[in-house]
């Protein structure tokens, strides 16, 4: 039935929604309540293999203050209208800005963008959700603060609150973002304001210094969840080191990845390599240098021979290892010797530093990100296959060489069954390792889109059956991934939801929680 809205929240009549919209406008002003198709179109586009119509918002509303958000949750409770909160996290390939379910109202906090505090001595920041990494970067420059950010791939246009709330990562020694989070302010579904840990004491000045406070540590339940709306976020900053030496190590055989991880792990755990070690397959970075159509004619996934040709043509490794050393010149020199000795032992590694590569884009963007700088060239990946389809698959394993090849073989097997390429990388945390695959596909091709859905479904099923759980997923598969973590976790999540948000107004469906 035609409605004046492009979608309506599930179970909410047009009349009730009219009333809710009227009240949103009273709180936020006419200009900050968007219901027209032209205004909502930028919130509807996803990269998932499901119709965008499944994720179309009924409205987008933009708050700038905590008080407004308190009033909004009041209105949502009154009319049972669900809201899907976004700020400056990008979630490209994870669902973008679109809500988990058709008809949810997007609560867009990007205009809530004040940098509340930056402490150069204690190296922390407290920000609102709309603050971007670019804003902070500029702030540091302007105030001559020798501080570094840790940014994810969308860098300049993303922000610390959204990225950390979805447990995103970066590429500096502070790259495990939630590990470096310290203190949150949260608006709960009943309008109460919670300040976590030391933030509970009105005169405390340690909110951004001591994470744990007293009693249960609550911050974690507000990440990848729908239990509250984070309105202030504290996190730690890395002091700018005197020297940063990014490097690349190329290997020419897929089987070498086992050796790479075995060498990398002790260097990571001992702190010789302080940032996450990225081990990128050639296809993950190929679009920076080549066109797929130059190597593949006809349907199906790219052949191993074609990959070898591509690698040889563009002087890449089949595996390209990236990490950096940080500290004084003396520290970096000592650690560089440890690194080159360790990786050099087998004679398979080719070492490259900034001096060797000039303006090579492959090395270039990695080096910028490892310094906490702004560079989005990683997204060239979207040009590899083209057509606007992307699904990130992110299973976690132990950081052992023996975990690599079997995962890669399984992934390649499933992907090639569906005609898709293996565009993957391993990221060695400390004891854990993320296996990141960007399943790029052509969304204009209905057959490939269907195959992509099926393929992603199989990846989750087969990997989880072997014990590899996904640490993050897109909105179309959140239920499925939540299922893999077992009934007890699901039940606890549901009970927490019921207790904190009895009307289910906050992002129903997020991480499979309703």
């Amino acid at each position: 039935m035609a409605s004046k809205y492009i979608a309506l929240p599930k179970g909410v009549s047009e009349k009730s929604f009219d009333a809710a919209v009227k009240e949103f406008r009273r709180v936020l002003g006419e200009a900050h309540v968007l219901v027209k198709a032209e205004q909502l179109a930028p919130y509807t586009k996803t990269m998932m293999p499901v119709p965008d119509a499944d994720h179309t918002a009924s409205a987008a509303i933009m708050a700038t203050t905590v008080e407004q958000i308190q009033k909004i949750v009041g209105i949502c409770n009154k009319y049972k209208v669900p809201i899907w909160t976004i700020s400056t996290g990008k979630n490209l390939g994870y669902g973008s800005a679109a809500p988990a379910e058709r008809g949810q109202v997007v609560l867009d906090l990007h205009r809530m963008n004040r940098i509340l505090e930056v402490d150069g001595d204690l190296c922390y920041a407290l920000v609102e959700p709309g603050v971007t990494y670019r804003q902070l970067y500029d702030y540091f420059q302007e105030h001559k603060l020798p501080l570094w950010l840790s940014v994810p791939a969308p860098s300049a246009i993303a922000g610390p609150t959204g990225n950390t709330m979805d447990r995103g990562v970066g590429y500096t020694p502070y790259g495990e973002h939630f590990l470096n989070a310290c203190g949150m302010e949260v608006v709960l579904a009943n309008g109460e304001i919670l300040r976590t840990a030391m933030g509970g004491l009105s005169k405390s000045n340690t909110w951004q210094c001591f994470k744990w406070g007293y009693g249960p540590y609550l911050d974690g339940i507000f990440t990848q969840s729908n239990y509250g709306i984070v309105t202030k976020f504290g996190f730690w900053l890395q002091p700018a080191p005197p020297v940063c030496k990014p490097f690349q190590i190329q290997y020419q055989n897929e089987a070498d990845v086992e050796e790479i991880v075995e060498i990398m792990r002790p260097l990571r755990i001992s702190g010789v390599i302080p940032n996450s070690g990225v081990i990128a397959h050639a296809l993950y970075e190929a679009a920076l240098k080549a066109k797929r159509s130059d190597y593949v004619k006809g349907p199906g996934s790219i052949s191993d021979d074609a990959v070898r040709q591509l690698v040889s043509d563009h002087k890449m490794g089949i595996w390209n290892v990236y990490a950096a050393l940080y500290g004084t010149k003396e520290q970096v020199d000592v650690n560089w010797k440890i690194v080159t000795d360790a990786f050099g032992k087998s004679g398979k590694a080719k070492f490259l530093t900034e001096e060797d590569v000039g303006d090579d884009p492959q090395f270039g963007y990695r080096a910028v990100l490892m310094r906490g700088g702004m560079d989005m060239r990683e997204f060239s990946l979207y040009n590899w296959r083209g057509g606007g389809g992307s699904l990130w698959f992110a299973p976690v394993s132990q950081a052992r060489g023996s975990e690599t090849l079997k995962q890669m073989k399984l992934a390649k097997q499933i992907l090639s069954r569906h005609g898709l390429d293996y565009t993957g990388e391993f990221i060695v945390g400390l004891r854990d390792m993320h296996h990141i695959l960007d399943m790029v596909y052509d969304r204009t091709d209905p057959e490939m889109t269907k195959a992509a859905y099926q393929c992603f479904d199989e990846l989750i099923t087969e990997f989880s059956a072997l014990g590899y759980g996904s640490y993050r997923t897109n909105t179309a598969f959140m239920n499925k991934v939540a299922e893999t973590y077992g009934p007890v976790q699901r039940s606890i999540n549901r009970r927490l939801k019921k207790a904190l948000d009895p009307n289910g107004i906050l992002a129903p469906g997020k991480s499979g929680i309703r």
Binding site: A41, K90, I157, R292, V296, R443, D445, P446
Partner: protein, 293 residues
């Protein structure tokens, strides 16, 4: 960044010649406010830029629009977000037509959303050598007023390549405008799906089942034939042999407010298979946006 202006004289001459023919093929719809807007064509450095631009210029000439300003990004979107943000902020009140590669489009949409643009249409246009042999256009239009599909179908039909066009409308037509209307062109047979969100499918050179298969439409039952209709409003007076030029033409004409046939459906699709359809020799793909800043 390089900014050039289309030759005013050329536009005046083309417009004059067009009007001298007596009956204009295109009429601005009453609802279109576009004539008062500055129209900007932003080219993001794809290999389609030149051909798209030539189609855009032809549309401007046909519609006697002389104000098209072209902005060519020297650096891509991925390394030029500051430039794009600056341009967006300086372009309040303008209508933008944007042509970008897939990666640039993803980032551009994020930037556009953050400055509060009003999106009129988006399109992904693909011709691949590793996928289906037909050229594919996946369009989202916010309403029938800004639709591109029918005009694009009329144009690319003149060429020898097979094509599929799907177009989704974010806003359904209001109830008072819901009388059955449909696009039509010689050689096409048209069908309407039963149900609450009707789809119109227009097939040329292929049966409805074949067309549905090409388009990925799964519903197999409940299709009602739509009687043939002649849409003089979308008849083609200008031709090109190249599909990218045609996309440039159709999208620009739509952005300038060309009067198109409003179909009473939630989405529509066009499939064309010619007997001697030429397989694309060269992969080409890009993304288009039309938006008000």
């Amino acid at each position: 960044m390089e900014v050039d202006r289309r030759s005013l004289m050329k536009g005046v001459l083309a417009g004059g010649a067009f009007l001298a023919l007596g009956v204009p093929s295109w009429a601005f719809a009453d609802r279109s406010p576009q004539k008062s807007k500055q129209c900007v064509l932003l080219l993001g450095g794809t290999s389609a830029d030149g051909l798209f631009k030539s189609g855009a210029r032809a549309a401007c000439a046909d519609m006697a629009y002389e104000g098209l300003r072209t902005v060519q990004l020297k650096e891509g979107v991925l390394t030029g977000t500051d430039t794009i943000t600056g341009l967006l902020n300086q372009s309040r009140g303008a209508r933008w037509i944007t042509v970008l590669d897939d990666a640039g489009a993803v980032i551009f949409l994020e930037l556009a959303r953050s400055v509060g643009v009003r999106m009129l249409s988006m399109g992904v246009h693909a011709c691949s050598t590793d996928g289906p042999s037909y050229i594919r256009h996946d369009l989202t239009s916010t309403s029938q007023d800004h639709s591109v599909g029918g005009l694009l179908a009329s144009h690319v039909l003149q060429q020898s390549e097979d094509f599929c066009i799907t177009e989704h409308f974010l806003r359904e037509p209001p109830a008072e405008e819901r009388a059955l209307t449909s696009w039509g062109a010689p050689g096409f047979s048209s069908h309407r799906s039963a149900g609450p969100d009707p789809i119109h499918v227009h097939c040329s050179g292929c049966s409805l089942p074949d067309g549905r298969r090409l388009l990925g439409l799964e519903a197999t039952e409940g299709w009602i034939p739509i009687p043939p209709q002649v849409c003089t409003r979308e008849s083609v007076t200008w031709r090109s042999e190249n599909w990218v030029v045609s996309v440039g033409y159709a999208i620009t004409a739509s952005a300038l407010g060309v009067d198109t046939v409003p179909e009473s459906c939630a989405s529509r699709a066009f499939a064309h298979q010619s007997r001697n359809g030429r397989r694309a020799q060269r992969a080409e793909r890009f993304v288009s946006f039309v938006m008000d800043i």
